[in-house]
Amino acid sequence: MNDVVALTRKDFETDQTVRWCPGCGDYAVLAQIQKLLPTLGVPRENFAFISGIGCSSRFPYYMETYGMHSIHGRAPAIASGLKLARPELSVWVVTGDGDALAIGGNHFIHAMRRNVDLKIILLNNRIYGLTKGQYSPTSEQGKKTKTTPLGSIDRPFSPVALALGAGASFVARTVDSDLAHMSAVLGRAALHKGTAFVEILQNCVVFNDGAYAAITDKKRRDDTRLLLEHGKPLVYGKGRDKGIRLRGMEPVAVSLGEGAATEADLVVHDEHGAHSGLAFFLSQFDTPDLPVPLGVFRAVTAPTYEALNTQMAADARAAKGRGELDRLFNSGDTWTIAES
């Protein structure tokens, strides 16, 4: 029944009709994850998908695994409890920019801090889709939506920067329209031991169509996005003719070639730095001045929360022996009243 090898994408599809709008970026993510899981060598019954509320959070209904469509913003907390109770499970959180960063912001940053081994996939469409189009914490300033008819005055979060600020051990970004890139990044996340955060730039065709045109549009994208490669200098551009160098601690886009800068002058990407300064530095890049980095910003190994928890329990048993009710009840300061 759980002959892992035999699993295929089909095994992860449910009988529930998918209820996203035609053309929604969520479909691509669903497809990639359904393709990825069979390759992980994990029995299907050991996967659990936990979500909050939102279009993106309907995800679990479409995965033939264990799953919970919980309440708005709380998926990381529920998933943390599940993973602590059942370390052997592969626990995934699928969330949205409102679910994870508006109402769920606190659980999000604490998950990053603790490093529970969760895969947190954020479908960032920079809008509240399910509630029909209000701006979100990732919407750009000035955005006109139903709740901001005169344009939003909020400054957006960079989900990547926030995750790094909270101490995340794995942070990556990809985009719904680049299937190859998405599956590579998701694969990396799946293999990471600890909280793996992946921001997926996702297009909401109904309420925020074209939000990512600048970096998805085939014509422009080579000049507007920076594909991160560990150990490689930060090079981009159609003819790989542009790069990023430092001025003081500030990033500057330079063109490469004769009389101009050379690759040797450029900042070299390092996913594993002792400090997360470089990753954060990258998280600040945005168009038009700088290209939008895609790929793995940071990936460092740190003990997972549930591993430390299990170890602690083991040590306690080693020290005190497996607890026994009788001894527990009779510990402390007791006295006996004899038959009289």
Partner: protein, 615 residues
């Protein structure tokens, strides 16, 4: 040290209150004294009363900390009303506590602390120990500070450390006064301060000095003895309600063979349960200090989904924050225990004070038709049984269960007769593993759905907070299905009434007056009723553990009495439930002062309702 020879007065029960600066260690003195007393085979009950500040400035009125204990040769249900003996370590302690001291009671005052400065801080113009204003009491001024300092002058301890020893001097006085031996206490000190031998030595010296002082001096004309109570034979220990609850939860895990998961966020007065369980990792226990109350309950829901006994602990404002997640737990139909150690409200209210005002919230406080069983403990030791009962219901009916305790029960200690684990109820837990026509919301005879552990092959399924199909659990917007689900969730909880043991009636099974109580008011009601019964009044008492659903035999019982009295530490919340359910007029006795009922308050209400003065 040989026992003293002095005229001895035999008493049935004594109430003693230790009062001093929060820095003086009165809680410790009180606890130590109760332990020593307990070993003499007395029954006892205690009531700690401390300020919400961590360490209020010394000598101030709001910095006063108190610890009251009643012990007796009969069963004890409360820490007593007015103390017979008051030990006041400084003027502020005297000022705050004197009003409660029994007329003619014994007053032991640390005269050394009655300095100009302290008198001023307490708002005394003249020194009450000298101005004769205490004429009504048996006043024993003892320079506890000075005498302690004197015996320890060569101890090498700092002035501060010496100051901390004086509570043991006071303890010595009291042990002598009640003829308790010193040896065991000295061992305890050695154990407690094992790492600080100098301090240990100092405390032992202070203890002996106090003991000797009371023996030697003529100050106590008589010494008091309390005959041992005839308590059910067995091995006992002293437990607070929070500690008892923690033991009960661990027991539930062991009895069911299912691991315990506590997700919680600290809050007074519930935090001790988290503290206790955090130290029991060698059992099948995981404790998770969450980032807030919402994460506390949500992590527990996640663990319950994973097949653990999920639970969360909180109080007042924390309970409010769990409201939304409670609704999810009801929809998911997963076992979960939510412990609310109630405190003074509303809002932040009075965090360290006693109140019972979260009952209606527990029963009704959620959006939608969202039924949750509610039980409440009536004493510290009862918290142990309630913790097990809460999980029994949770796993049997696949439902969240709210367990109400309160700050009084939670912090007060009483002797707990240690049970033989073998005699405790087993908790039957069955995890579904059979894929054969599995339906996530198919129900058993108790209307409970199956509990499935993720990782079980072939049972993969999705659940969530949207209304779901009566059988499959898939999302359903079907109107009739919604009606059916709302009704079955209600029926499941209502059905628990069939699973509640018959109510115990104390007193006549019909008559003039029935007292219906719940929670921590139990002790005061029992004593008041006994007092009234002794006067020949036809008064009975039922105490409700199950508040939602109400026991099925309650209606009939209510009908057998002329009047019904409902004493509550709120504005009448159980009264509302009874009126609504039984369309019955009830007499309310309500108190919202952050303090438990005095036996006398309930007694007077009984007498008034029985329309007769005590014979």
């Amino acid at each position: 040290m040989q026992e003293v020879q002095r005229p001895v007065e035999e008493l049935e029960s004594v109430v003693i209150r230790f009062a001093g600066d929060s820095g003086d260690g009165m809680q410790l003195t009180g606890t130590e004294f109760s332990r020593s007393i307990a070993k003499a085979g007395h029954d006892f009950a205690t009531h700690p009363d401390y300020p919400s500040e961590i360490r209020a400035p010394t000598g101030t009125l709001f910095g006063v900390s108190g610890y009251q204990i009643q012990f007796a040769s009969r069963q004890v249900f409360t820490s007593g009303d007015a103390p017979d003996v008051l030990v006041a370590m400084n003027p502020a302690a005297l000022k705050v506590n004197l009003p409660d001291l029994k007329h003619g009671g014994t007053l032991i005052a640390n005269s050394g602390a009655f300095t100009e400065g302290n008198l001023a801080k307490a708002g005394y113009r003249s020194n009450p120990l000298e101005d004769g204003s205490l004429g009504d009491y048996r006043l024993y001024p003892v320079d506890i500070s000075g005498l302690t300092a004197f015996v320890l002058k060569d101890s090498g301890l700092s002035a501060l450390e010496i100051g901390r020893c004086k509570n043991y001097y006071a303890l010595g006085l009291m042990l002598s006064l009640y003829g308790r031996p010193l040896e065991k206490e000295e061992e305890d000190i050695q154990a407690k301060f094992a790492r600080k031998p100098a301090i240990a030595a100092g405390n032992v010296l202070a203890l002996r000095a106090g003991y000797a002082y009371a023996d030697a001096t003529e100050m106590f004309i008589t010494s008091y003895r309390v005959r041992a109570a005839d308590i059910e034979p067995g091995t006992y220990r002293s437990l607070t309600g929070n500690h008892a609850a923690a033991l009960g939860f661990v027991a539930a895990a062991e009895l069911s063979g299912v691991p315990l998961f506590l997700g919680s966020y600290p809050i007074t007065p519930a935090t001790d349960i988290l503290h206790e369980l955090s130290a029991l990792k060698h059992f099948n226990v995981t404790t998770f200090q969450a980032e807030d109350e919402i994460a506390g309950i949500c992590s527990a829901i996640g663990a319950a989904y994973g097949g653990a006994l999920g639970m969360t602990t909180t109080s007042g404002p924390g309970m409010a924050l769990k409201t939304e997640a409670l609704g999810l737990a009801v929809m998911l139909e997963l076992p979960l225990v939510i412990t609310n150690v109630q405190r003074g409200g509303p809002s932040t209210g009075l965090p360290t004070k006693i109140e019972q005002s979260d009952l209606l919230q527990a029963v009704y406080g959620r959006n939608g038709e969202c039924p949750i069983p509610v039980i409440a403990a009536h004493s510290p030791a009862d918290c142990f049984d309630c913790a097990i009962e809460a999980f029994r219901l949770a796993v049997k009916y696949m439902t969240p269960v709210i367990f109400l305790s309160d700050g009084g029960i939670g912090n007060a200690a009483e002797p707990w007769r240690i049970p033989d684990p073998a005699t405790l109820p087993r908790l039957e837990v069955h995890f579904r593993t059979d894929p054969e026509n599995f339906q996530a919301y198919a129900r058993d005879a108790h209307l409970a759905r199956p509990w499935v552990r993720p990782g079980t092959p072939g049972l993969e399924h999705r659940i969530g907070g949207l209304e779901k199909d009566f059988l499959s659990g898939n999302i359903s917007h079907d109107p009739e299905n919604h009606q059916r689900m709302v009704e079955v969730r209600a029926a499941k909880v209502a059905g628990i009434a069939r699973d509640i043991p018959p109510l115990q009636i104390e007193g006549p099974d019909r008559g003039d007056l029935l007292i219906v109580g719940w929670g921590g008011t139990h002790g005061s009601i029992v004593q008041a009723r006994e007092k009234a019964a002794a006067l020949g009044l036809q008064v009975a008492h039922v105490h409700l553990r199950h508040l939602n659903p109400l026991p099925s035999d309650l209606g009939a019982i209510l009908g057998r009495y002329r009047k019904v009295l409902v004493p509550e530490l709120n504005l009448g919340q159980l009264s509302r439930l009874l009126r609504e359910r039984y369309l019955l007029e009830v007499e309310q006795l309500n108190k919202v002062q952050g303090k438990p009922f005095k036996v006398s308050e309930i007694f007077e209400a009984i007498v008034a309702l029985c329309q007769g003065e005590p014979a």
